[in-house]
């Protein structure tokens, strides 16, 4: 009998590719990649925001400072007009100068200087707000020396962070403003984070705001904004800087949050995938189990039919074998009685004995009739079926056994349905028997390239199922008795298999024959008539 294959359902490769997620290293790697991507994104977007803020603040400062230096020019013009209108120094000039100092704290000193005409220059009038430095008339004189009247110029101041703007009023007079550079920016205009530098062509003028750290720090950067103050008299350069640390580019809290959420997400995805994969594997295992169960049921059904049929075949074989001697016995006895009668021996003891023989032979015959009737009772469950399907089914079932025995099993079945009036279980049994015999013959031959072929082809008014092998073949002396009941070439054979095959095939108006293959081995041919009328075909379609 056949055995079931080991329960070893190989999972399809499709689900292998998901298993990498089961590795913790891969999970950690994926997580780090996500973190890196988040870090780059966060740093880039923050950096852009910082750049924008610095440049916006810088431009605002540039506008404010430009307006203020323009005011200085305006004050110089006003003051020089006032100075010229009064030939002598007056209180009016001082009054205006003091008022300017009060309203504009960045202007810390206003001086009216008489330019030398042979003698050294001197200060005619001076106003200062306390922060202002004492004017050096010689310096003013030198600064305006080359200017034509009405023109102004920039000048350095002795006090750090201060500068001067000077204007030549006429040949003999000049006015000078002392500006506190730090006050060009009013308190709240400079952002808390900013470092502001003002410089002239000669060099740095001042630096204010937050102190730049001595060392940049890990991955820290500086965002800068540089611009010129457009002014003929005060050509200042503005530089605004912001120190940005790693913590600002990559804020720790959102980063930590992202890290936690992404890790949780990955773990969740992994467990979902694993769950799904497990479900797929479980389903496959269930499918494989149900396929095996279906095969097993098919096998059981076949084995059951085989038992029933074997019993019938055995009974019918016994009946056939007994019938022959019984026929001889009956006929001999009847002949004996006629011979006795011809010799005037009617009603003698010898005639009585022969009559008893006739009676007993008929009794035995009646027993055989009852036995046959019992065997024949198994109803014929014939219907119209597709032979191709059942040939394919039984080949699939037999394949398990032949695979284990290392014998190749080829099958060729046409696609078009091959309809015949059969009982599928019985016909499957015939083909199953033939395949098993073929496999035994191949094994007996001990060939490594053992091969059994099963084919179904239309032939004449019906179909031919051919089972061939490359085994030992059929000995010529065996061939005529091949389908006889109780005749077997196998040491442990009952001799019912082929006899049963013949009985079954003949029950469906078919025939079976055996012969040698062209290239050795044996060929068994089962011929079955095709289902004929339309009604039968419709029956099959239902």
């Amino acid at each position: 009998m056949m055995r079931l294959p080991n329960p070893d359902p190989a999972a399809p490769p499709m689900h292998r590719r998901l298993t990498f997620l089961r590795s913790s290293a891969a999970l950690a790697g994926g997580w780090l990649l996500l973190l890196a991507a988040f870090g780059v994104y966060s740093a880039t977007s923050h950096w852009q925001a910082f750049e924008q803020e610095v440049s916006e603040s810088g431009r605002a400062l540039q506008r404010a400072i430009s307006q203020r230096v323009a005011q200085h020019d305006a004050h110089l013009t006003g003051l020089s007009a006032l100075g010229l209108a009064q030939a002598q120094p007056s209180e009016d000039f001082d009054l205006v100068a003091k008022s300017i100092l009060r309203f504009y704290p960045r202007i810390v000193a206003i001086d009216l200087v008489r330019l030398p005409s042979g003698t050294s220059p001197d200060v005619v009038s001076s106003a200062t707000s306390g922060d202002g430095s004492t004017v050096d008339p010689a310096q003013v004189s030198r600064a305006v020396e080359m200017l034509t009247p009405g023109k102004a110029a920039y000048g350095a101041d002795a006090k750090p962070g201060h500068y001067r703007v000077m204007k030549r009023m006429n040949e003999t007079m000049a006015v000078s403003l002392d500006i506190d550079g730090a006050k060009l920016v009013e308190g709240e205009e400079l952002p808390r984070w900013a470092t502001l530098r003002l410089s002239t062509a000669e060099g740095p003028l001042l630096e204010t705001g937050v102190k730049q750290p001595a060392s940049e720090g890990f991955l820290a950067r500086t965002v800068s904004f540089d611009a010129s103050i457009v002014s003929a008299t005060q050509p200042l350069r503005l530089s605004l800087q912001r120190h940005v640390t790693l913590a600002q580019l990559l804020p720790p809290l959102p980063f930590a949050l992202f890290a936690a959420i992404s890790l949780a997400g990955l773990v969740l995805v992994r467990s979902l995938l694993k769950h799904r994969q497990d479900a797929v594997l479980a389903r496959e295992a269930a499918d494989a189990a149900s396929r095996r169960e279906a095969l097993r049921q098919h096998e059981t059904k076949l084995a059951h039919a085989l038992r029933i049929n074997s019993m019938g075949e055995m009974a019918s074989g016994i009946a056939h074998e007994l019938t022959q001697p019984l026929t001889a016995l009956l006929s001999q006895s009847q002949a004996g009685r006629r011979i006795a009668a011809a010799n005037g021996l009617t009603d003698t003891p010898i005639d009585t004995v022969l009559a008893a023989n006739v009676q007993q032979a008929k009794r035995a015959a009646d027993i055989l009739v009852r036995l046959r009737a019992y065997v024949g009772k198994s109803a014929l469950e014939a219907g119209v079926h597709d032979l191709g399907r059942h040939v394919a089914d039984i080949v699939a079932l037999s394949r398990i056994d032949l695979d284990r025995r290392g014998i190749a099993l080829d099958v060729a079945v046409p696609e078009a349905p091959a309809l015949a009036r059969i009982d599928p279980v019985e016909i499957e049994q015939v083909i199953h028997n033939l395949i098993r015999n073929a496999a035994d013959a191949v094994e007996q031959a001990g060939r490594a390239d053992g091969r059994v072929r099963v084919s179904l082809t239309p032939a004449g008014p019906g179909y031919e199922i051919i089972v061939s092998d490359n085994g030992v073949g059929i000995a010529p002396d065996i061939l005529p008795r091949l389908f006889e009941p109780f005749f077997s070439s196998k040491p442990d054979g009952m001799g019912l298999g082929l006899s049963l095959c013949e009985s079954i095939v003949e029950r469906f108006d078919g025939s079976i024959s055996a012969g040698d293959g062209v290239k050795g081995g044996a060929v068994f041919t089962v011929r079955l008539p095709a289902a004929q009328d339309r009604q039968e075909r419709e029956e099959a379609a239902e």
Binding site: A319, T323, Q324, S331, Q334, L479
Partner: protein
């Protein structure tokens, strides 16, 4: 009534000897064969008889033997015997032109009756073959005349119908009587009826 010879083909020696003994007590000529193939080779040389064939024999079945015998002209009445009592084999047997189908073991009475019927069938068969052979000797004109005589026409009526002189018709009748070996009008009618070539 004389029985035609019986040819028994059965692979079982016991059956062969028993049946030949039994039929011998009835004075029936019987020849037995254990090998169907050997019988197939001998059959054409045998006198027509009744075939008693076993259904199940090695290599060839009784039905197949019957078909092959018919194919070589030995289409004699056939009785098939079997130990199987198989309905399907039975149906096919009658389809193939077998006259009877007996289940083994065969009872004496049943067998004798079946053989007598088959022998009768063989007689008819032989009679027809004889008639066909006789009628085949006639010319076309003689066959026409025979046909008309068989229908009960007088010489004059035949002469008018065939535009012949009554004398010529009488000559034909004389020739027919000689060829058929009878002058009986009833026998003429019988031969005209069954002697048509098949």
């Amino acid at each position: 009534m004389t029985m035609a010879p019986v040819y028994l083909v059965d692979d079982d020696e016991g059956v062969r000897s028993a049946l030949s003994l039994l039929l011998g007590t009835y004075g029936i000529r019987i020849e037995t064969f254990g090998d169907p193939t050997a019988f197939l080779a001998r059959a054409p040389k045998l006198k027509p008889g009744v075939l008693l064939l076993d259904l199940r024999m090695p290599a060839i079945t009784g039905l197949q033997l019957h078909e092959r015998l018919a194919a070589i002209g030995c289409d004699w009445p056939t009785i098939i015997c079997t130990g199987h009592g198989d309905v399907h084999a039975c149906r096919r047997a009658f389809k193939a032109g077998v006259v009877d189908f007996l289940t083994k073991p065969i009872d004496e009475q049943v067998l004798i009756e079946a053989l007598q019927q088959a022998s009768g069938a063989l007689d008819v068969h032989a009679e027809k073959a004889e008639a066909v052979k006789l009628v085949a000797q006639l010319t076309d004109r003689e066959r026409e005349v025979l046909d008309m005589v068989g229908r009960g026409w007088s010489t004059k009526e035949i002469a008018d119908s065939l535009r012949l002189s009554p004398r010529t018709v009488d000559t034909h009748r004389a020739n027919i009587a000689q060829k058929l070996g009878t002058t009986s009008v009833a026998e003429f009618a019988r031969l005209a009826l069954i002697g048509q070539a098949p």
